[in-house]
Structure formats: C-alpha cells, structure tokens
C-alpha cells in the first residue's frame, strides 16, 4: 500500500522482514534457514520463554540495485533483537558463506540490545563469534556495511560488531553505543546518566552525535529508500578500495579516540562537545533536518 501512495516508509517503524522487502530489489530476498525450518533457540524453551521460528534474525541473499549481496535483518520486536546461540550462528554462517561465495558485500540491518543474557555464555560466545566472522570476511576482501535505524539501536556486543564494519549508515533515530542508557544509570547512578531523559539519550547515542564523532560514515533520513540508496553507494564505494582492516586504519582509529578523549573527555553533555567543535547553534542541532545538519557538519565532523 505504501508503495502505491509513494510515501516515505519509516525504517524505524518497519519490521525486519518489511525492511528486507523494501531495502532490496523487489522479490529478490532469498532466505537461508527460513522460519519453516524451525531452527529455534534451545535455551528459551528450557526457561519457559517464548521462541521465534527464526530466532529473531532473517538471513539470506538479495539484489541491491542489481548487485548480489548477503544480508541479515535483526528483529528488534523479539527480545530487543538480542543475540542468542542460534541467532548468532545464523549471522556467523552468513558471513562465512559470503567468503566462500566471494559475494560483493554483506549488508547487515542491525537492531539489537546486544547479547541475549538469558542464554548466558552461549549468547556471549555467539556474539564474539560474529565479530570474528565479520573481521574474517573483511580480511578475505568482503566489505561489510551496517545499517542502524531501528528503535532498539545497536548496543553491547552488536554495537561492537557495528563498529567493526567498513561503513556504518545511521538515521538520527538510530542509536549506537556500548552500554545502554539504563545500564549506565544502574551502574553509575542517575547523576551520571538519566535514562528517562530521552533528549539526553538521543543526544548522546543518536545518529547525529555519532556522525559528528566519526563513528558512522553516513547519516540519512528515517526512510527505507534513503537507507537503500546509501547502502547501494556504500557497496559501490567499497568495491574500489581494500575491505580488510589494516594496521594503519586501526592506528588512525586509536589516534582519533585519543584525540576525542583529550579534547572532549571533561565535557558533560554532547551539546558542550558540539560547541567545542564550533558547530553553529550547537543547542539547535537536534532540531535540524538531515540535509541542513549534514551541511553544518561538513567541515567540522571527526573523521571527515
């Protein structure tokens, strides 16, 4: 129906499977281990908890503007997209198969709170295996592109996985961090971080701050078509440069983080950081539309 009316489709509000349908060439998504295979979590049933037939992630092959890619979409609606043993194994299998099949790129539609703690060590191992598989794919010359625009963001282990990718594409609504707001508040107190202050949460972890800090390379509007176009451009750009993570890139990243800490480490709020970066009208940044924001950030963002 949305296609008929040609309205923008919110990436944030779409389910994982809706995103796969809308992101890629129509009807091109072919799923590996579809729900009818019923490869479900062995742990959740023991805990008397509900399972999903796809364990919260759909993986497969799709065409992106005529280019074959492998893709995975995490479903934030099922346990916040958290990575359990089966969920993680599906991501690892996809990344390994990408290497075997020498696919042009892997596009990960990340939406996850991180490890599914119900599954304890199996979940922790699963997410670390995803990181290793992602870096192995890059080492084999397969670029990995991560999209972050779901309401659950990309946190914990999946935040790390996201930052291991060649390119990260976010919307302002997307969030990317290690510990989630409630975890920080629980561990360090409400004075350190008020997880109920939604404006603060988005200022600190949302796409605009990540773009200014150099943690994501592209920022787009909350529109599936915008994500599709950015992913397509990223796949094309990645084909012209080495995909592997080099020592030089790692050292440059470390240097950037050192500089970030020394320049901004003592500041309390992202607005203070934006002011220190000489962003015009720093306090008004959350109100800017994406194009005005990109223009304002052009010469000032880190890693530009």
């Amino acid at each position: 129906m949305n296609q008929v009316l040609n309205r923008p489709v919110s990436y944030q509000e779409a389910s994982a499977r809706e995103r796969l349908q809308q992101m890629f060439d129509p009807g091109s998504f072919e799923e590996f281990l579809p729900p009818s295979e019923r490869v479900i979590s062995p742990h959740l049933a023991q805990l008397n908890a509900p399972v999903a037939f796809d364990d919260g992630v759909a993986v497969g092959r799709a065409m992106l503007g005529g280019v074959a890619v492998y893709t995975a979409a995490q479903e934030g609606g099922f346990m916040g997209g958290a990575v359990g043993e089966v969920h993680g194994a599906k991501l690892v299998g996809l990344l390994r198969r990408a290497v075997t099949d020498k696919i042009a790129a892997v596009v990960l539609l990340v939406e996850s709170g991180g490890v599914r703690l119900h599954e304890a060590n199996a979940g922790l191992i699963a997410v670390s295996e995803v990181m290793r598989a992602l870096l192995d794919a890059r080492a084999a010359g397969i670029p990995v592109i991560v999209l972050v625009g779901g309401s659950n963001g990309a946190f914990g282990g999946m935040g790390i996985v996201t930052r291991c990718a060649n390119v990260v594409i976010m919307s302002e609504e997307g969030r990317l961090a290690m510990s989630g707001p409630e975890v920080i508040e629980t561990a360090n107190g409400v004075e350190e971080f008020d997880s109920r202050d939604r404006a603060l949460v988005w200022r600190s972890t949302g796409g605009k701050h990540r773009y200014l800090m150099g943690d994501c390379q592209r920022i787009v509007a909350d529109d599936v078509k915008a994500f599709r176009a950015a992913a397509q451009e990223a796949v094309a750009a990645c084909s012209r440069q080495p995909a592997a993570l080099s020592l030089e890139a790692l050292e440059a990243e470390q240097k950037m983080l050192d500089e970030r800490l020394s320049r901004f480490g003592s500041l309390r709020d992202p607005v203070d950081i934006w002011t220190a970066m000489q962003m015009p009208q720093a306090g008004n940044i959350p109100m800017l539309d994406v194009d005005s924001f990109i223009a304002a950030a052009a010469t000032r963002r880190q890693g530009a």
Binding site: P35, N48, P50, V51, A52, F53, D54, G77, F78
Partner: protein, 103 residues
Amino acid sequence: METLNYRFEDGTQRLKSAPQVVGVVGSGNLEVLIEPAALDGACTIEITTAAVGFGPIWQAVMHDFHQRWLLADARISINDMGATPAVVSLRMDQAVQTMLGEA
C-alpha cells in the same frame, strides 16, 4: 508456557504458495507461520503461548478463523506473547491473505 492444538477436518480451500510468516513475537503480538502440508485434508493449528489458561478463548477464535477461510491441507504454527483475540484474528487473516497474494 502452554501448547494448544486444534484440527479442523471440513476445509475445502488449499494453499499453493511457499510458507509465509507474519507478525513478530513481541509483547501483545504473535507470529503466524502458515504452510501447505499433506494432512488428509485437515487444517491443523499449533499454538505456543506465554499466556496460560485461555484455552476456551483460543478455541473460539480458531473456530471463527476456520469458518472464515475453510483451509484444507494447511499447517499453522503460532508463537504468541499475549496477543488479544482481535490481534490474533487479524494476524491469521494477514497470514492467509499473504499466502493468497492479497496482502
């Protein structure tokens, strides 16, 4: 968790397309997996639900669903996280409509 099974024998409508899943296992929601299956003409429904003790309501909702669609040789599997009867009915209709290419 509770598992409920229903089987309806008098359906006439057979589904031809590949298995489909609709919905998400989230709070107040459910996922419905629908597949063609050789079941001697029957339509079977297996429900795994987090809300224990609502068997009679499920029975009524499944009966109504079967009367609407009269599916034959169809296997329906549901993972439920406390969806209301109206949501269940809408999701099941969406599943059949997706199979029929109407959604």
